[in-house]
């Protein structure tokens, strides 16, 4: 039976069919749905959200050493967090088959950079596969598990947004149960003290030679022969684009196993064709290897290494074939940037914070990153998961010494705080930073689509679990001044800011209200009640001051002609923030 699946759904299906016993991940676009789908196989697979990617990879390694087939999944920047165990797994190898999926984001649809994680395979000396579509994604997980066990190596599976989030047809198979391998204590393999690691490095280099031989033999790397005029070497989604553009007018060397590269196969292919193109998205990873062998090719001298590719870019770059396009004036089209949702608790928080003067606001990764956009404009930096607090600490130390008028407020979400914010807050307390840390606890991991986290009280597979109390946690770290507020009550929020700004020791404000999109759980219902009714504007009373508009609520529209605000009742969820900022009480509630 064939099913239309995204690449992520196909990875989950492949892992299930491959007999995977354990999987862990931290959600991150475009990788999130891999674990969400694996979680459905409750009887066969233990599937977990880990607090961060390093923890996910280490738990998967533990499961592998204990004899299970295991998988970890993360977005590209997540692998940076997990890089520490990754490089040493390159040395230790595995027991049960082990795959880590890296989901890169060319085009930065939902990321802070567009790093090409194929270099990680080479750097950490682990095998790598790259699927081009959903069928390959499924098949390669199964194949990668076999390669992993045969060569005693972790296999990195590199996907990209368009492989993860494109649907194509996949043949559904059966799960093949794989027995748990016996656990054997083996100090020469897993006890990586310097003397052990020194010997393991020798093993690693030998393993890579065997893997290169395999790379030359495996049918994951195959030739489609059409002509000797043009040859194309490509991998991943770029292969599909090349095929779309060149059709049968080129021969192809399709690379599915891309570390170590099949250099013998590449040389043979290159010798047979007159012109050789290397079609890659992002960096010239394959091209560099080819050029290092003295083989001439056309690649990044023509194809851009910034942003994602598509068939048009490949055709224009390599064949100078420009598409025929309808010409028209695009200058009048207004931008449509993403915004915080109507009723988002972050809106109240950032509205309050935006009124503070002489502050540096260090932000983090999540929906609340949008607090830095107009009209709230309440953020100075966003770098990576957890950086808000530690970056804020460093800046604060300098302000305390050289620029006394400045205050640092760091802003981080609940899930991001559990991810890597805790260590940073320890730094703040330990090194005595008089700064304000705000934890925006919206009771869920929102940006990636409503995932549970250590604070929600539920696991990925729906079990009730201990909900970590953020207030207790920060107090245990040593923060003496902690307050929890409802960010949609501006008086309460502003009073907390006044209080925190007046302190001369580290403080934490926990802004606690559920995400407007969250379906309240039983635990939530005990604490929160959604507002009833909708907000509406009394046109007679509206003076056109735009304060409600400047909350950035997408339900509020300002008519420039008659200088009045109006509220769209379809979008409004009745959070009442606009009512609190209106100076003439022109906004009132209906349908309560």
């Amino acid at each position: 039976m064939k099913k239309l699946l995204t690449g992520n759904e196909a990875v989950a299906l492949g892992a299930y069919e491959a007999g995977v016993h354990f999987a862990a991940a931290y959600p991150g676009t475009p990788s999130t749905e891999i674990l969400e789908n694996l979680a459905n196989y409750k009887d066969e697979v233990i599937a977990e959200w880990a607090p961060n990617e390093k923890v996910a990879l280490e738990s998967a390694l533990g499961a592998s050493i204990a004899g299970a087939r295991s998988l970890a999944a993360m977005k590209h920047v997540g692998l940076n967090v997990a890089a520490d165990p990754l490089f040493t797994i390159g040395y230790t190898g595995i027991n049960g088959g082990m795959v880590v999926v890296t989901a890169d984001d060319p085009g930065l649809h939902s990321s802070q950079n567009e790093q090409d994680n194929r270099y990680y395979a080479k750097h950490a000396k682990v095998a790598m596969v790259e699927p081009s579509n959903s069928q390959e994604a499924k098949d390669m997980v199964i194949k990668a598990m076999e390669i992993s066990e045969k060569f005693d190596t972790l296999v990195l599976m590199r996907m990209t947004t368009r492989v993860c989030h494109s649907k194509s047809l996949v043949e559904v198979g059966e799960r093949k149960e794989v027995p748990i391998k016996p656990y054997k204590k083996d100090l020469s393999k897993y006890y990586v003290a310097p003397a052990v690691a020194k010997q393991l490095h020798v093993v690693v280099e030998e393993r890579l030679k065997r893997l290169e031989e395999f790379s030359n033999e495996t049918d994951l790397n195959y030739v489609i022969w059409n002509t000797d005029k043009i040859g194309v070497i490509s991998s991943g989604i770029a292969f599909e684009y090349a095929r779309e553009v060149f059709g049968d007018n080129a021969s192809y060397l399709k690379l599915g196993f891309t570390y170590p590269l099949p250099m013998k196969k590449i040389k043979e292919f290159a010798e047979k064709v007159e012109t050789l193109y290397v079609v890659e998205e992002l960096e010239p990873y394959i091209e560099e290897h080819i050029r290092a062998q003295g083989i001439e090719c056309i690649g990044k001298d023509k194809i851009p290494n910034i942003w994602e590719l598509n068939p048009e870019i490949v055709a224009v770059s390599l064949l100078e074939e420009k598409p025929e396009i309808i010409e028209y004036d695009k200058s009048k089209i207004a931008n449509r940037p993403p915004t915080l949702c109507a009723g988002c608790p972050h809106r109240g928080f950032f509205y309050g914070l935006s009124k503070r003067k002489n502050v540096m606001i260090t932000g983090d990764i999540g929906c609340y990153t949008l607090g830095g956009a107009a009209p709230l404009n309440a953020m100075d930096t966003t770098i990576c998961m957890g950086a808000s607090i530690s970056l804020g600490h460093g800046a604060n130390k300098i302000f305390e010494k050289y620029n006394k008028g400045m205050k640092v407020v760091s802003v981080i979400g609940d899930s991001t705080f559990f991810h890597t914010g805790i260590n940073s807050l320890i730094d703040v307390v330990y090194n005595k930073s008089n700064m304000i840390t705000c934890i925006l606890d919206n009771r869920v991991t929102s940006m990636t689509g409503q995932q549970d986290n250590p604070g929600t009280g539920y696991t990925l597979q729906g079990e009730v679990t201990e909900a970590i109390d953020i207030e207790d946690l920060v107090k245990a770290i040593g923060v003496k001044h902690v307050r929890t507020v409802n960010p949609l009550k501006l008086d309460e929020l502003n009073e907390a800011f006044d209080w925190a700004f007046s302190l001369d020791e580290p403080s934490v404000i926990i802004s606690r209200w559920p995400c407007a999109l969250k379906k309240l759980t039983e635990i939530d219902k005990e604490e929160f009640k959604r507002p009833k009714g909708k907000c509406t504007v009394d046109v007679e009373k509206c003076i056109g001051c735009r304060r409600c508009v400047n909350t950035g609520c997408p339900a509020i529209y300002f008519d420039r002609e008659n200088k009045k605000s109006s509220i769209d009742d379809v979008q409004c969820v009745g959070c009442e923030l606009c009512m609190q900022v209106c100076p003439t009480k022109a906004i009132f509630k209906v349908g309560e």
Binding site: K2, L4, T29, P30, T32, H109, S110, N133, R162, H165, S166, K167, S168, L169, I237, E240, Y241, R243, E244, G247, N310, P311, E312, I313, A315, P323, E324, I325, I326, Y328, D329, K330, K332, I333, A334, N335, R336, P337, P338, T339, L340, C341, C367, T369, L370, A373, A374, P375, M447, T448, G449, V549, N550, G552, P554, I556, Y557, F558, R560, V570
Partner: protein, 196 residues
């Protein structure tokens, strides 16, 4: 490839373009086509401009298209049709919802909603204008606007032989099946009426 047809569905995050594309793809698969569909998740969804691409034929390679490549552009919002019009083939068709959602800069009074959007599109391409919002509201649920447009698309693309009711039944919650099927038929009718 030459026989592959490309559909571009565009709109605003939250308008249900992904569900419409899901039903569309399911119907096409059922009809025996090779299908690829590409969608965007995450940050871009939050009220931003969104696009979904569905390609079908005997054998489909790329899941996405560049400019000048779509056989049909279905826009769930008027200004978005203009934003994506350059992705349409010069002889391609447009189904546009006569519905405006002001974007953040417009809400803030920093930009104007462009005038004459639909007229411009009509000048440039073979266009059907559908008042999907009104049709959906008349059916009693503004949210089924996406399925009205899906019906319009099926008619405009001459894909009426496919068992769309099954595709809808398989992809929407039980108590919304009837209204969605009705919405689909109203969408097809809207195209028929436009022909007259």
């Amino acid at each position: 490839m030459a026989d592959t047809r490309s559909i571009l569905l565009v709109g605003v995050g939250g308008q249900g373009t992904i569900l419409a594309s899901k039903i569309l793809s399911a119907g096409l698969v059922e009809a025996g086509y090779d299908v690829k569909m590409s969608e965007i998740h995450g940050m871009a969804q939050r009220g931003g401009s969104v696009s979904t691409q569905v390609r079908f034929g005997d054998k489909v390679y790329s899941p996405i298209i560049g400019r000048g490549s779509a056989d049909i552009l279905v826009s769930f919002e008027a200004m978005e049709a203009l934003r994506w019009l350059d992705h349409l083939k010069p002889d391609g068709k447009v189904v546009v919802n006569d519905y405006k959602i002001p974007s953040a800069p417009i809400l803030l009074g920093k930009a104007d909603y462009p005038e004459g959007v639909i007229e411009t599109i009509k000048e440039k391409a073979d266009t059907w204008v559908v008042d999907a919002a009104k049709i959906a509201r008349d059916l009693g649920n503004a949210k089924v606007m996406n399925i009205v447009l899906l019906g319009a698309l099926a008619k405009a693309m001459d894909l009426t032989d496919i068992d769309w009711e099954k595709a809808i039944r398989d992809n929407v919650k039980a108590n919304f099946i009837d209204i969605n099927i009705e919405a689909f038929h109203k969408g097809m009718e809207a195209i028929q009426l436009a022909y007259v």
